[in-house]
């Protein structure tokens, strides 16, 4: 079982994301849509914007992650690429983790990289920026993991997206609450430790459980 | 050229949306995501919420509309259903308008129907609710029309979603500005006439031009 398949898959996924474009720029697009639309709709008061900034940036990250989920396994499922994973000579759980990694690289990372700019534009207080970045760094992989599980579970049904949203939403809300809670605490001068610790625990939990669950779900749905 | 194709198409589109689920619940999902997340991020001060309410509801409508665009023509394009439109015995522009209508029914209408609830939850002043509904009623069809045009134009490219957003976004931002402007005016006790008039003019313009342009764009892209 050679591990060379993993970098090959990662490279191809990223190349497809760049080529297809949609996925690779969507997160940034959402971030900027939020950055532009919210002040437009809300009015440009710095105080107002500052209070809603973490929530808005997190909503952008969530939307970006959610949006790319339909494309996480379905195209491969439909064009017969996914069934090639089970021919026996490939490390399937490794492939699953690679795929989830590429999902995070495409949807999570850009939001993290552009978060400082977004924070600036929404007048987020400086002392909260570090915590915002940290919360995104811990939290967005959780989004990718939970979303990946939902995508794998709903692959075989034709009722994909609703079920997917219904599955994802309750799992994701706590992440969002802890993350924005951490940023709000930091902005108000309190310690964000407790919130971030909770987030980190969630991440560890998801990292250990999800890849196996996804593998099993895919295996079942491919039939 | 029989017009019986149009109700048949509309029925099938709605049935697919219900069956597939994703599209039909996405708008509400966004609306409630916004309704739940924004107060979480902002804190539940009625005044603050009231000022951002129209902007938030409109952003939800916009995102819902945008999200469903990738599925407006592409599945039909890929499974060969779309090329059946051009066999010569079907009223293609009528089909296009039917498809756009179903997009609006799926993405615009639910937001309108749930806007009163959302307005209540965000403490929007009562005198602004009517104008909000009116702005949604005039504005969301414009979103569907413009989005449909962008979807049709980008159908043949392999760079679907980014290009689509780039085409849609600048055209849609004015709609958002005028619509939220109208609601803000009403909330402050001024007349929203001017803004709503502008919106209505945009709608009439889009209604006359877009179906023809979409037909032409599809025709070319099908090659």
């Amino acid at each position: 079982m050679s591990l060379r398949a993993l970098p090959a898959l990662l490279l191809r996924d990223l190349r497809l994301a760049v080529r297809h474009g949609g996925e690779s720029l969507m997160p940034l697009f959402f971030l900027f849509a939020v950055l532009i639309l919210v002040p437009l709709g809300v009015g440009p008061g710095p105080n107002l914007l500052a209070t809603i900034a973490p929530g808005m940036i997190w909503v952008a990250a969530l939307l970006a992650s959610l949006l790319a989920l339909e494309n996480l396994f379905r195209p491969d499922f439909e064009d017969g690429t996914l069934e090639q994973w089970w021919l026996g000579h490939l490390p399937v759980t490794g492939l699953v983790m690679t795929r989830l990694l590429s999902h995070w690289l495409i949807t999570g990372l850009p939001v993290i990289l552009f978060a400082p700019l977004a924070a600036q534009m929404l007048y987020l207080p400086d002392q909260a920026l570090g915590v915002l970045m940290l919360s995104l760094l811990i939290g967005t992989p959780i989004l990718s993991l939970i979303g990946g599980l939902a995508a794998a579970l709903t692959l075989g049904t034709n009722r994909g997206s609703v079920l997917l949203s219904i599955l994802v939403f309750p799992l994701v809300v706590p992440v969002l609450i802890f993350a924005t809670g951490a940023v709000a605490a930091a902005a108000d001068g309190f310690s964000p430790r407790a919130h971030l610790g909770l987030l980190a625990a969630l991440l560890v939990l998801a990292l250990t459980l999800v890849p196996l669950a996804v593998t099993a779900a895919l295996r079942l749905n491919i039939e | 050229m029989s017009l019986r194709a149009l109700p048949a198409l509309l029925l099938r589109d709605l049935r697919l949306a219900v069956r597939h689920g994703g599209e039909s619940l996405m708008p509400l999902f966004f609306l409630f995501a916004v309704l739940i997340l924004v107060p979480l991020g902002v804190g539940p001060g009625p005044n603050l919420l009231a000022t951002i309410a129209p902007g938030m509801i409109w952003v939800a409508a916009l995102l819902a509309s945008l999200l469903a665009l990738e599925n407006l023509f592409r599945p039909d394009f890929e499974d060969g259903t779309l090329e059946q439109w051009w066999l010569g015995h079907l009223p293609v522009t009528g089909l296009v308008m039917t498809r756009l209508l179903s997009h609006w029914l799926i993405t615009g209408l639910p937001v309108i129907l749930f806007a009163p609830l959302a307005a209540q939850m965000l403490y929007l002043p009562d005198q602004a609710l009517g104008v909000l509904m009116l702005s949604l009623l005039i504005g969301t069809p414009i979103l569907s029309l413009i989005g449909g045009l962008a979807a049709a134009l980008t159908l043949g490219t392999n760079r679907g979603s980014v290009l689509l957003s780039i085409l849609v976004f600048p055209l849609v931002v004015p709609v958002l500005i005028f619509a939220t402007g109208a609601v803000a005016a009403a909330a402050d006790g001024f007349s929203p006439r001017a803004h709503l008039g502008l919106l209505a003019a945009l709608l009439v313009l889009a209604l006359t031009l877009v179906p023809l342009a979409v037909t032409a764009a599809l025709r070319l892209n099908i090659e």
């Binding site: - | 043949g156 490219t157 600048p170």
Partner: protein, 252 residues
């Protein structure tokens, strides 16, 4: 009848090698004309015209702002005409020329937006405001960019050009909106003050540089258009014999 003439004319000129020769000869003259007009225009604009009694010297921005604004819009109209011809008669040359109008028009739109914004700072105290004229001009820039992006996204350039031509024609509705926005809605932006024909509310001494610059910008548009169209033709026909022949004939 007249349509037929246009069609035949385009077809005759539209043969790739003959357009290539035509543009090679004509474009340098257009560039020369542009250089002349703009040198005269800028000299008048900065040295000769007296300061405005209201706006002092800041009004000199007008001589780049207004010609660029006009050309951004005129360029769009030209592009639309070419696009209509391309869609009706499927003449390749007009497809290419229409597509090549977009980057040039976008450049002038950008100049107009940038200079307008710079001018707005001292005059209105703000760089930007969401008023109808400004918004519609920004939309024009995005339409130009959208056309360029759409054209670039197709493997088959002819198909891409025709699809983008549809967008060109749809976007045409924005042009009257830009022009009449100051009359239809109350805006920050100044109303119609300049008339080439009839009574202009602008002082006559301020007119000459505007005219020079306007003509110069138009010549430049034509020159850049010919250059770009020629390049695009070469790119599309790179595998064809006539391009190979040009390659071996000239050292270039």
């Amino acid at each position: 009848m007249i349509w037929k003439t246009i069609k035949v004319g385009f077809h005759r000129l539209g043969s790739a090698p003959s357009f290539y020769r035509f543009s090679t000869v004509v474009s340098p003259w257009l560039w020369a004309g542009f250089a002349l007009c703009s040198v005269i225009g800028v000299y008048y604009a900065l040295y000769v015209v007296p300061p405005d009694y209201q706006q002092s010297d800041s009004f000199r921005i007008l001589y780049v702002h207004v010609p660029s604004a006009w050309q951004a819009m005129a360029g769009y109209v030209v592009m639309s005409i070419l696009a209509a011809i391309a869609l009706i008669w499927r003449i390749r040359l007009t497809e290419i020329m229409a597509m090549m109008c977009a980057p040039i028009g976008a450049a002038f739109t950008a100049i107009c937006l940038a200079t307008g914004s710079i001018w707005g700072r001292p005059m209105w105290g703000t760089w930007w405001e969401w008023d109808a004229r400004l918004t519609s001009m920004l939309v024009l820039l995005f339409i130009y960019l959208g056309i360029m992006g759409l054209y670039a996204a197709f493997d088959d350039k002819r198909k891409g050009a025709r699809v983008a031509c549809i967008l060109v024609l749809v976007g045409l509705v924005n042009i009257p909106i830009i022009h009449f926005s100051v009359e239809w809605w109350t805006t920050l932006h100044q109303g119609k003050t300049i008339r080439i024909f009839g009574e202009s509310s602008m002082h006559y001494s301020m007119m000459p540089p505007l005219i020079w610059m306007t003509i110069g910008v138009k010549l430049m548009f034509g020159a850049a258009l010919l250059d770009r169209a020629r390049n695009e033709l070469l790119t599309q026909d790179r595998r064809k014999g006539w391009v190979r022949k040009i390659l071996s004939n000239k050292g270039d």
